[in-house]
């Protein structure tokens, strides 16, 4: 089945022979002069030829040119441009370069920006990169800088509501985002049920959200890739950063292992309110545990010019409870090896392990042999993923590789003890293997056109030991299995394969504008089963099975990109249409936890999403930031729900307007503001009430879903950052961040629901539920040595 891919590979590789004529290659790494961090996506450009290349995710570049002497210019946003004369006459040239950050961004000093129009020139569309320095300046809830909350200000990204875990991209569910931390997937990206994301901002280097035109190297989720890259650690000198906020205390340490050869970073955060509360806890609350923490660590070592290794790990946990306890968390570990085979062929191999698990237990303080309940659930993944980049020539860049993932699921097992008798409930463990091969080429055609075309083939095996259930046709009600088959270890229960074509094109329109088009098909074999408004930590990732089919999406997007005023403003307008297949939905009253026959409670349907996204960003100057506006619709159609008609999905918002502004008053003082406005999310209300056994119950005569909307959402946040004048211990820097969330104290609705009046059951009322019903000020102190 992989044959067409191999054939394509052969064709692309043989292109070198065709084009090979007296050409030589310049290659190397581009790094930050201050701390040795690799610069991702820096541009290497040869003005005389009008050709160039960007550094990859590890800072590597390779450029093959005819013999001659060239001036190469290296540029990267908010770094000073570097120029180098290179003579290509005898042999390939190796050129590593360190670039200096421009500290004078406040002034109108020319950070020469010939190639800072990367957003216009690159093949990427529907991609948003947010600089960590911007994220750190944006006003944050409770002063806690948060990657996931920040990306919610980007066009095309919504959420079901404040405090909800995850995010929705262009009409996709939260499980359709592949959240990668150093290439290992993170299954639950939230602390505290969704209030904070698991990424420690002190350890994050780069955040990239890919919403469309998804390259062939990525797969496994339908809607987006959130690629979070951790810092490598300062390879020049020891440094420490940290802070004390309202929720977390943070500390990160970076240091060289051997100067300029290797370094590591360790960063930790812990909530500390429990420590403060301890003296006030007595009686039953003594011994209560409520905290969350995460630890991020990474080491890298450059063995020689050709080999670099990276090890990264993440460990985070939320712990709540006294006797009755609940804790959950993610663990990821990834090892990567960068190998430069030749000046043209770059390999990164990643091996990772990722685990998400939770546990609930009723007898934490002391085991109770008479009456107890102990429940645990986990998903573990093991994967190997080689990715090759072959810099054929200055006009063709071929990427190829593959991935194999082994999953083990323990969807939920519980031990229930009553009156000394023990019973085990829940689901059997499940196993699956997902593998994929891909190849793609990025090709420059003429002066104006760049194409990226690729193909990915994914193959999924659902394997034993396990049980396969058969169910009758979908009716909208619970289905009991009609037959059950037991499979032995290694038996195949179900298999699915999917071709996933990917295509992007960039047509240059004059100096600083371009037209981009992309199409991608994605397949997804994992499903987060969640029937609540916001996903909860209890929700279970479930494999595709003989009943649950792989989710598929096709997305087409078209965009115009234009930079104004010498790239001072980046603007874009994109329109997209996305069609979704095999979307999971739920019967009323579905039982998704500890239920072996949960597939009988699932419904399957289709989805569609379309919209337009406007984005304008001011990239530099005293005042910078962006405005984004999204007009969109996202709908589902599921047999058995809403009379089989299309209905808006839970996170559909017609209009979303986001404004992020940062104003640097001086080197010491800066202000920032966020504004967000969104149409109210859909809701289902009853038409009539009926009284039964004294309960006033709601009923929708038309059996409609999501026919109403809750009130619109809008909010302003402010922050001020003041750097201390005095150096700490003579060399360190300190800063105070004052922030106010929800400045005008709006009681935004998370949901509006109906209920009977507590005191008078025959009376009924609508209730607005707000997660944050008030203005929330916070102060944070950060330091850096």
């Amino acid at each position: 089945m992989y044959k067409p891919l191999l054939a394509l590979l052969v064709v692309l590789l043989s292109m070198q022979a065709v084009f090979a004529q007296e050409k030589l290659t310049i290659s190397g790494y581009v790094k930050d002069a201050k701390n040795g961090e690799a610069l991702l996506g820096a541009t290497v450009f040869v003005a005389s030829l009008g050709e160039g290349v960007s550094t990859n995710d590890y800072g590597f570049y390779s450029l093959t040119l005819p013999k001659g002497t060239y001036e190469l210019s290296f540029s990267y946003i908010s770094y000073l441009e570097e120029k180098r004369q290179v003579k290509l006459d005898q042999a390939n040239v190796k050129l590593d370069l360190e670039m200096k950050e421009s500290t004078l961004t406040l002034e109108t000093v020319t950070v020469s920006s010939e190639r800072v129009d990367e957003n216009v020139r690159s093949i990427e569309m529907s991609v948003n990169k947010v600089d960590m320095r911007t994220i750190q300046k944006m006003p944050a809830l409770l002063g806690e800088v948060d990657v996931i909350r920040s990306i919610q200000f980007l066009p095309g990204v919504t959420t079901v509501g404040e405090g909800a875990t995850g995010f929705n991209v262009r009409g996709g569910n939260i499980d359709q985002n592949l959240v990668l931390l150093d290439e290992a997937p993170v299954f639950n990206s939230s602390h505290l049920f969704g209030f904070f994301s698991v990424f420690n901002p002190d350890a994050v280097k780069d955040v990239k959200l890919i919403k469309g035109g998804i390259p062939a190297e990525y797969g496994g989720r339908l809607s987006s890739i959130l690629d979070v890259r951790m810092k490598e650690g300062n390879s020049k000198k020891f440094s420490a950063t940290g802070g004390i906020g309202t929720i977390f205390s943070r500390l990160a340490i970076e240091t060289p292992i051997i100067k300029d050869k290797g370094s590591f970073i360790v960063a930790g955060r812990r909530s500390y309110i429990d420590v403060l509360a301890k003296p006030f806890l007595n009686g039953d609350l003594k011994g209560s545990r409520f905290y969350f923490y995460d630890l991020t660590a990474k080491a890298n070592y450059r063995i020689n010019d050709k080999n670099t290794v990276f090890l990264s790990g993440y460990f985070g946990r939320d712990v709540f409870g006294a006797d009755f306890g609940f804790d959950w968390g993610n663990t990821t570990a990834s090892a990567r090896w960068n190998h430069v085979f030749s000046d043209k062929l770059f390999l990164n191999t990643t091996a990772f392990f990722s685990n998400y698990d939770y546990r609930l237990q009723s007898d934490l303080k002391e085991p109770n042999p008479q009456d107890a309940f102990r429940w645990n659930s986990n998903i573990k993944t093991y994967s190997v993923k080689p990715d090759f980049t072959y810099y054929v020539n200055s006009r063709n860049k071929v990427s190829f590789g593959g991935q194999m993932i082994y999953y083990t699921f323990q969807p939920g097992k519980a031990e229930a003890i009553s009156g000394g008798e023990t019973r085990t409930i829940g689901q059997d463990s499940k196993y699956a293997i997902e593998s994929a091969l891909y190849i793609s080429n990025e090709q420059k055609v003429g002066k104006k056109l760049t194409l990226q075309y690729g193909l990915r083939y994914s193959l999924y095996d659902y394997i034993g030991p396990g049980k396969g259930y058969t169910y009758g046709p979908q009716t909208g009600e619970r289905r009991e299995p009609t037959s059950t088959t037991t499979y032995q270890k290694g038996d195949r229960i179900a298999q699915y394969g999917n071709w996933e074509p990917r295509f992007s094109a960039n047509l240059g329109l004059g100096e600083s504008s371009s037209l981009k088009l992309s199409y991608n098909r994605m397949a997804q074999y994992l499903h987060l089963l969640s029937n609540t408004a916001a996903a909860s930590p209890l929700d279970v990732w479930t494999p595709t099975s003989n009943n649950i089919k792989p989710q598929l999406s096709d997305q087409i997007a078209l965009g115009i990109f234009k930079n104004l005023n010498d790239n001072l403003f980046e603007t874009s307008l994109e329109v997209y249409y996305k069609s979704l297949q095999n979307q999971v939905d739920y019967i009323p009253n579905s039982d998704l936890l500890l239920n072996p026959q949960l597939e009988g409670d699932l419904l399957y349907g289709g989805g569609r999403a379309y919209g337009a996204e406007f984005f304008i960003k001011k990239t530099k100057g005293k005042l910078n930031g962006w405005v984004s506006y999204t007009l969109s619709r996202t709908e589902r159609q599921v047999e058995g729900l809403n009379n089989g008609d299309w209905f808006p999905s839970r996170f559909d918002k017609t209009h979303v307007l986001n404004v992020v502004g940062i104003y640097d008053v001086s080197q010491r003082l800066s202000f920032s503001v966020n504004f967000t406005y969104g149409t109210g999310t859909p809701a289902t209300y009853p038409t009539s009430k009926f009284v039964w056994q004294g309960f006033a119950l709601p009923h929708n005569f038309y059996d409609e879903r999501n026919g109403y909307r809750i009130p619109d959402y809008h909010r302003v946040d402010l922050a001020a950052t003041l750097k201390q004048k005095k150096k700490i211990f003579g060399k360190g820097e300190g800063e105070w961040v004052f922030s106010i969330y929800n400045v005008y104290n709006r009681r935004n609705a998370f949901s509006v629901y109906v209920r009977q009046n507590e005191d008078n059951p025959s009376q009924t009322e609508a209730v607005r539920y707000s997660v944050f019903g008030s203005i929330i000020p916070a102060v944070t102190y950060n330091f850096k040595f």
Partner: protein, 305 residues
């Protein structure tokens, strides 16, 4: 118990800034439908079936009774038990004519027949077995923080003990009374599937698990309070119906589920007639236990409660 602990943690975390308030919304109007509230027990006492009409959800007027209907419960041996609306208020009542007379016998099926206007409706339900309540016990409880919704912070917390029958699929509704007043808030509906909370068979034949035992006290009791626990056997479809009733009435917050209509088990006799009713018909065998709270009989507080 579990729920209360959770609330404490959120208060302490200072994220208690979440809030609710009552607002006005407008919703569509619709046709009026007949509502049948028919829960018949095997007790020898007056049994009532209530008929009413739906009204717009936010109409706060009195419930409109459905009068002039014919209401009969038939046993599987075709014995009719007519229910009569004596006061013309939609309450259709059957009275035992002699002491000890009752409609239901465990193991038998019963049919409900209702004729309202031109329409005829029916439903069938079976009386399942119910185990006796073996005992209750109680201990002194004092919560560190005052619980919400006017619940008591201090008093006696009670458990009842009963054992599910061996054999999967027995369902129960646990009802508690304090001084003859039924705890009847929607969130106080406690239903059991075998000895546990949900289908799956694992709790079959068990002593009811702790959270179900604790349904004896949705709120705390004071000394000398009268406590009565009732255990209703219910058909499986009634279990799922009550689950939906509870969900529909307590469905707020960030982990709310999508509201859905509560299905009925009462059908139009003419299958092609689109006129539908709301409500439910179920029959139950009942076991109960009554006691007066006596501080001297309280047991020591169990660990973890």
């Amino acid at each position: 118990m579990k729920r209360i602990h959770w609330i404490y943690f959120f208060l302490i975390l200072g994220l208690g800034s979440a809030c609710t308030d009552v607002i006005e919304i407008e919703t569509e109007a619709s046709e009026t439908q007949l509502v049948i509230d028919a829960w018949v027990t095997d007790e020898s006492k007056a049994q009532t079936i209530k008929l009413s009409l739906t009204q717009p959800y936010f109409d706060q007027g009195n419930i409109v009774p459905a009068i002039g209907a014919t209401v009969i419960v038939f046993s599987e041996d075709s014995i009719p038990y007519p229910f009569v609306d004596l006061k013309n208020d939609g309450n259709y009542v059957w009275q035992p004519k002699i002491a000890g007379e009752k409609i239901l016998t465990v193991g038998k099926q019963y049919a409900l027949y209702v004729k309202y206007g031109e329409e005829e409706y029916f439903s069938i339900s079976k009386v399942n077995r119910v185990p006796p309540i073996d005992s209750v016990n109680y201990f002194q409880q004092k919560y560190p923080v005052s619980p919400p919704d006017d619940l008591r912070q201090e008093g006696y917390q009670a458990d009842f003990y009963a054992r599910d029958f061996a054999g999967e699929g027995d369902c129960y509704w646990v009802r508690a009374y304090r001084n003859d007043t039924l705890f009847n808030k929607p969130e106080q509906i406690t239903i059991a599937y075998d000895g546990g909370f949900s289908p799956g068979g694992a709790a079959d034949g068990l002593l009811f698990i702790i959270p179900i035992r604790a349904a004896a006290s949705p709120d705390l009791y004071a000394a000398n309070d009268k406590m009565k626990i009732e255990l209703f056997s219910i058909p499986q479809e009634a279990f799922f119906f009550l689950q939906l009733v509870r969900t529909a009435s307590t469905n707020g917050g960030i982990f709310a589920t999508v509201p859905s209509n509560i299905p009925t088990n009462i059908q139009n006799l003419d299958q092609n007639n689109p006129k539908k009713v709301l409500g439910f018909f179920a029959v139950s065998a009942v076991s109960s236990l009554e006691t007066v709270i006596d501080g001297r009989k309280a047991i020591p507080k169990p660990s973890g409660r």
